[in-house]
């Protein structure tokens, strides 16, 4: 082992870029909430972009048992016995990579913890993390990253479930990211997205980034561990290129939505 968890507050899990090819058995993709930040941590550590790293939603304190290179946004040498703290603030998540990646078993075509499928467990004090062999000597430098202030959405597909003007409501004012948000969904508070009273809920396929809307009209944005099917209608879906920057907005933060132009 190379790192020992001293303290894990919030939710700290091993993640990669998620699983593919298992949604037909209701296994969601999972993976990092903010893939860009996991990739940056890996690049800074000299790893393959999608190597397993620790996702920190809260705070993580680790202690090195040997000298090693770790990275959150920049590489750093950690001496044996030295401690390091990784905090998700001011964003919603932060990532800790070890040079070589974290050694985690590959299960169902992925290394990440997927709580809804019983794969892996949250990190706790005393857990040991070992380095893997995911080195990439040609790893490019991390890229600049900032959370979104305005997020573009593609309207639909369930526009007929809403009163006329729901999209205008969505873009009319900022929404607040509620602290009850998790990796399943990000709960938002803001202008009510009124549903038609006669809409009959039926379980339909879901997608990461969908704004599903319960009867109360407050949208939930589906995250990496979303159920593959669900009964709430989808007003719009966040543009995939902006989903990581949306998920980087800290709990309590604000976001505005805009409709993507057709040419995007």
């Amino acid at each position: 082992m190379t790192l020992v968890v001293v303290r894990a507050a919030g939710l700290c899990t091993v993640q990669d870029l998620g699983r593919r090819g298992h949604m037909h058995e209701a296994v969601p993709p999972g993976g990092a909430l903010v893939p860009e930040l996991l990739v940056n941590a890996n690049r800074a550590a000299g790893n393959h972009a999608g190597a397993p790293a620790v996702e920190v939603l809260g705070q993580l304190v680790v202690r090195a048992t040997v000298n090693l290179v770790v990275a959150s946004s920049e590489p750093r040498v950690l001496r044996a016995g030295e401690e390091m703290t990784v905090t998700s603030e001011p964003l919603r998540s932060a990532y800790l990579a070890i040079r070589g990646g974290i050694a985690a078993p590959r299960v169902l075509d992925g290394h990440g913890t997927l709580l809804c499928a019983g794969l892996g467990t949250p990190l706790r004090a005393g857990d040991a993390l070992a380095a893997g062999d995911a080195l990439d000597e040609f790893a490019p430098a991390p890229e600049p990253f900032a959370p979104a202030e305005v997020v573009h959405v593609l309207p639909g597909p369930d526009l007929d479930a809403f009163e006329a003007g729901a999209l205008d409501q969505l873009t009319s004012a900022a929404y607040r990211v509620l602290p009850s948000s998790d990796r399943v969904g990000t709960r938002l508070a803001g202008p009510v997205l009124a549903r038609r009273a006669d809409y009959r809920e039926v379980s339909r396929p879901m997608v990461r980034g969908a704004l599903e809307v319960p009867r109360d009209g407050q949208p939930i944005v589906l995250g990496p561990e979303h159920p593959t099917t669900g009964g709430y209608p989808i007003l719009a879906v966040i543009a995939s290129a902006e989903l990581g920057r949306f998920h980087a907005i800290r709990l309590g933060g604000a976001v505005r939505f805009a409709v993507a132009s057709a040419s995007r």
Partner: protein, 199 residues
């Protein structure tokens, strides 16, 4: 009517063809260019791409139309037997609501052969069709905050086994023994499987 609708910029949704094997559909759709995942729901199917859908609108429409005349999957349908104990906490309620004796509820449930119609809600949660119409009941008025993994349940026209501890509003009539419904190899029950419950 539209042949398909966009589900964001990386997925599409279209109507599930009636009478076609879900397993065969998954196999074919996963072979479309750029498709990495497929979800089969009761009335719809979604295809998920690793980039903007590579097929243009017209080719997508014809690929979807072709699903309607798909032959069954090449491999034979799997038969799965699950050992169960009919001792669920809602057994008496189900008997009362259906006007049947508890033993008759058990007998009806165990004498049918079911088919995995969809998998959703939670990893490996298979919606089985084939439930005797006399056992069709609406969900419980108040869902339970925690249903234990392995619980055998009925609701509406379906029966299912909860793969994980989870909240749930179905009527619990028993439990599966000696079997895990989901493990590191994935879901025990797959689309199209024929399932029997053996007391």
């Amino acid at each position: 009517m539209l042949e398909w609708v966009a589900l964001g910029d990386r997925a599409i949704r279209f109507a599930r063809p009636v009478g076609i094997s879900a397993r065969a559909i998954v196999g074919v759709v996963r072979a479309w260019p750029g498709v990495v995942d497929v979800v089969v729901a009761r009335q719809d199917i979604a295809a998920y791409f690793d980039r903007e859908p590579a097929l243009d609108a017209g080719r997508l429409a014809s690929a979807i139309a072709a699903l309607g005349s798909l032959p069954d999957a090449a491999e034979p349908v799997r038969d799965v037997e699950l050992r169960v104990v009919y001792d669920g906490p809602d057994l008496d309620d189900v008997a009362r609501a259906t006007g049947l004796a508890v033993t008759e509820v058990q007998r009806l449930h165990a004498s049918a052969t079911y088919v995995v119609d969809t998998i959703g809600f939670a990893p490996g949660f298979a919606y089985l069709t084939g439930l005797d119409a006399r056992l069709h009941l609406r969900r419980r008025a108040t869902p339970r905050p925690r249903v234990p993994a392995g619980s055998l349940a009925i609701a509406d026209a379906f029966t299912a086994v909860y793969p994980f501890d989870s909240p749930g509003g179905w009527h619990l009539i028993g439990r599966v023994i000696d079997t895990r419904m989901f493990d590191e190899h994935g879901a025990l029950l797959q689309l199209g499987d024929r399932v029997r419950f053996v007391p």
